[in-house]
C-alpha cells in the first residue's frame, strides 16, 4: 500500500539504471530462448499459411474422440481435431479439393446434428499462404525503414536505433511464446503481432520524448549524467506507463474472458493472448531495453562523457544512480517557488512570464 501511495503521489525514486544490467540479461535470455524455440520447435502455423482446410462446428457434449470416430472414413481421418472454447470442435486437415472437403463438412454436420451451413469451413490453397507471408514480410521491412526515418527526424537517430531494437525484442519474444507453447498462428495472431509493434513503439516514443524534454532542461546545468537524466525521466513516465498498460490490458482481458464464454469468439481469444503478452513485454522494453540502449549510446557523446567523468570524480566511485534534486527537476524555465501558496491566488495571469523553451516541432 505504501508503495502504491508513493507511486500515486509521484514520490517514488526507483534506480532504473541499477536494474538495467539484470533486465538486459533477462531479456537476452528470453530472446535466446525464443530464437531457440523458433529454430527447433518452429511455429504451429494455421492453414492460412500452410494450405488445407479447417472446420469449426458447435457440438456441445461431444468429445474429440467421438469426432475422430465419426471422421474415420473421410479424408480428415488423419487430421488434427481439438475442442476450442466450451463446445466447438475444430478439425484441420491437409485437404483442398472440393469433393473431399464437402464430404467432411457433411459428416461433421451430421455428427453435430446441424445443417451443413452451420459448419464453418475455411479452405486455403497451398500457395496463398506464401503470398500472404511475403506481403507481410514486405510490409514489415518498409515499416522498419519508414519508422526509423521518422524517429530519426522527429527525435534523433540514436533513439531510432533504440526503438527498433526494442520493437524487435518485443516481436521476437511474443513470437517465441507462440513457438514455445505451440499456439496456432493465424492471421489474427499476425495482426496481434503488428499491434504489439505499434504499442511498443508508442510507449518507447513517449519515454524518449520525456527524456528529450528532461535532458533539454537539465543538461545545461552540467550537473547530471545522461543516465541520471534518463532515470529521472523514467520515474516521471512510470505512472503513465503503468496506467496506460492497465487501461490497454483491461479491454484485452475482457476479450479473453468473454471469448471463453462464447462459441464464435475464437479469433478474439487468439488475438487477446498475443496482445496480452505484447502489452506487458512492450511496456517493459520501453523502460528497460529502449532506454538503456539510448543511455549507453549517449554516454559516449563527448558532452555527456565529460559530465559523467566529472560526476564520478566528485562522488568518488559508483554510488548507484543519483536522484535529480528537486529544485532541478522543477526546472521548467521559471524559478521554482519555495512554497506553493494555497490562499486565493488571482488567476493564471498571476504566473510570472517565463521564457519559452525552444521546442523543435
Amino acid at each position: 500500500m505504501k508503495m502504491l501511495r508513493m507511486l500515486y503521489r509521484g514520490e517514488h525514486h526507483f534506480d532504473f539504471p541499477l536494474m538495467w544490467r539484470k533486465a538486459l540479461l533477462g531479456s537476452g535470455a528470453l530472446v535466446l530462448l525464443s530464437v531457440g524455440a523458433l529454430l527447433f520447435a518452429g511455429l504451429n502455423l494455421g492453414i492460412e499459411f500452410e494450405g488445407g482446410t479447417s472446420w469449426e462446428v458447435n457440438a456441445p457434449g461431444q468429445s474429440v474422440a467421438e469426432a475422430r470416430d465419426a471422421l474415420s472414413g473421410t479424408g480428415a481421418a488423419a487430421g488434427k481435431i481439438q475442442t476450442v472454447g466450451s463446445s466447438v470442435i475444430r478439425v484441420r486437415a491437409d485437404l483442398d479439393d472440393p469433393a473431399s472437403v464437402n464430404e467432411v463438412t457433411t459428416v461433421l454436420g451430421n455428427f453435430a446434428g446441424v445443417e451443413g451451413g452451420d459448419v464453418s469451413v475455411t479452405t486455403v490453397g497451398p500457395s496463398w499462404g506464401d503470398q500472404i507471408t511475403g506481403k507481410a514480410r514486405n510490409a514489415l521491412i518498409w515499416f522498419f525503414f519508414i519508422i526509423a526515418f521518422y524517429i530519426a527526424i522527429r527525435l534523433e537517430w540514436k533513439m531510432a536505433v533504440g526503438a527498433l531494437v526494442a520493437v524487435a525484442h518485443d516481436i521476437v519474444i511474443s513470437v517465441g511464446v507462440y513457438a514455445i507453447f505451440q499456439f496456432e498462428v493465424t492471421p489474427a495472431t499476425v495482426i496481434a503481432f503488428l499491434t504489439i509493434m505499434g504499442y511498443s513503439l508508442y510507449d518507447t516514443i513517449v519515454v524518449y520524448d520525456k527524456v528529450r524534454e528532461v535532458a533539454g532542461r537539465l543538461s545545461v546545468t552540467g550537473r547530471y549524467t545522461y543516465t541520471e537524466m534518463m532515470n529521472q525521466s523514467l520515474n516521471q513516465v512510470l505512472m503513465r506507463s503503468i496506467n496506460t498498460s492497465i487501461t490497454s490490458v483491461l479491454p484485452v482481458l475482457s476479450m479473453l474472458v468473454i471469448g471463453s464464454f462464447f462459441l464464435g469468439a475464437l479469433t478474439l481469444q487468439e488475438f487477446a493472448i498475443a496482445l496480452l503478452i505484447g502489452i506487458v513485454v512492450g511496456t517493459y522494453s520501453s523502460i528497460f531495453v529502449a532506454s538503456s540502449l539510448v543511455a549507453f549510446m549517449k554516454e559516449r557523446e563527448a558532452e555527456h562523457a565529460a559530465v559523467a567523468k566529472k560526476v564520478v570524480t566528485r562522488a568518488g566511485g559508483d554510488v548507484g544512480t543519483r536522484v535529480v534534486a528537486k529544485q532541478d527537476a522543477a526546472l521548467g524555465g521559471i524559478t521554482a517557488r519555495p512554497k506553493r501558496a494555497t490562499a486565493d491566488r488571482p488567476s493564471a495571469a498571476g504566473v510570472p512570464p517565463r521564457p519559452r523553451k525552444k521546442k523543435k516541432k
Binding site: 451443413g116 459448419v119 475455411t122 515499416f143 489474427a188 516514443i205 503513465r240 479491454p251 475482457s254 462464447f262
Partner: protein, 497 residues
Amino acid sequence: MRRQATYVVLIVLLSVGGIIYTLAAGNEPFLGLDLQGGASVVLEPAEPEDGTEINEETLDQAVEIIRNRVDGLGVREPEVTRHGATILVQIPGVEDEARAIDLVGQTAELRFRPVLADGMLGVPFSEAALASCPNASELLTAEPTPDAAAAECMIGTDKRNEAVTYLLGPAPELLQQDGDGVDRLNGESLETAAALFQVPEWIVSITFRAGSPGIDDFNNLASMCASGSVGCPPTGIDRSSGRGVGRLAIEIDGVVESAPNVAVANFSRDSIVISGGSMQEDEAKDLALVLRFGALPLELIPQESRIVSSTLGEDALDSGIIAAIIGLALVSIYLVAYYRLLGVIAILSLAISGSLLWTIIAWLGETQGLALTLAGVTGLIVSIGVSVDSNVVYFEHLKEDVRNDRSLRSAVERAFPIAYSTIVKANVASLIAAAVLYFLTVGQVKGFALFLGLATVLDLVATYFFMGPAIRLLAARDGVEEKPSRFGIPNPTEVSS
C-alpha cells in the same frame, strides 16, 4: 478561454450531429462475413500454359461473369471485387454456401445436352418436340431459360446468333446422380480442350477424364445421339454418310456454345474433335477456353474459401460487442477512480471519438460497402487503450508540474502543448504503421489497419478539440485550486508527510 469553449461546443455538436445523422439516414455498419455468416472465396488466375500475359480486360470479363453467376443465386449484396489479379467474392448470409463457392470459380456450369429441336426466338416449340420434357408446360412461352436442372428441358440461345434457339433435352436418367438433378456430364468430366488448325479448318479437340464422371458418361449420351433415339432425335445430318444423327449441345448458363453432330457411338477419351461449321481461329480458341474453364476466360484457382456459419458469426459479433462494453466499463471505472474529474473528461473524450468513429464507419459501410470484420472490431477494441493513453500522458504531465509547485491553472496551460506534442509523435508512428499495413497487405490485416488508422486520427481530433480545451475550462472555474484531489492530484498539505 472563449476559443476553448467554442472548440468544445463545436466538437460536441459535431459528434451529436453525426449520431443523429447516422440514425436518421438509417446508416449501419456493413458487417463482414465473419460477423454475419456467409461465404467468401479468393480467386487467382493460374499462369496461362502458353505463357501469355493475363490482361486487365480478361480479368474484368471474369469478374463480370462471376458477378452474373452470384447474382443468379439471389442473395443480398454479393460483392465481387478485383484487387490486382486477385478476385474476391463475398456472399453474405447465403443459404447453401458450399454450392455458392462451387459455382463461383469452377467449371461446373458447362453441360452437354441433347438437342431436341431447333427454333427461333419467340416462336414456341411444337408439342411433339416438347413431349419428352417433364417441364413442358414451363417452356410453352418459348422464352430462353438461363438455367435448368439436369432432369429438365431448357431453351438455350445460340452463342453467335441470339435469334436462334435450341430446345435442349434432359440428360438421360442414368447420367443423373440419384435423380437429384446433379448431372455427371458437365465441365468436370472434361480434362482439357485445345484449338488446333487441321487443314482446311480450325477444330477443337477435347480430352475427357477416364471413367465416370468422364468419358463413360459422354459415350452413354453419344450412343443415344448416334442412333438418333428419342432422347436425342436426329436433328442433324452427318456430312460423310448423309444419314440423320442427333446433336449434342455444349451449354453454359443457357447459351449454346456449339451443337455438333454426333456420328459415332463410342469415343476413346482423347479422340473427340469438334469440327465443321467453318470455325474461325478465334471462335475455336474461345470454344476451347470455354470447355476448359466453363464460361470464364481464364482458369481461376480458389486460394482461400471461407464459410462462416451464421450462428458462429453472430456469436463472434456479440462477444466482440460485450467485450468492448465490459472493457470500456472497466477502463472508465479505473480512470474515474484514479483521475477523478480528469477521468470523467477522458471518458467523454473517448465517447466523442467513439461517436465520430461510428458515424464514419456506418457511412463508409453504407456508401462504400466497407465491411466491418472481426479484425476491424479487434482494431477498435485495441484503439480504446491508445486513445486513453493520450489522456494519461497529459494528466501525468499535469500532476508532475503540480508536484513541482506549479499552480494547477498554470500547469494546465503549460502541460498541454508539451503532452500534445508527445501524443502527436506517438500517434503519427501508429498512423505510419497503419498506412504501411493498409497499402502493403491483403485481407484481414488491411481491414484492421484501416480501423486502427481511423481511430488514431479521431483520437488526435478529440484530444485537441475536446480533452485539452475541456480541462482548461474546468481549471478556470473558481475553487479548483483548493481541491486538487478532485483532479486526482494529491492535496498539497499532505505532500510533506
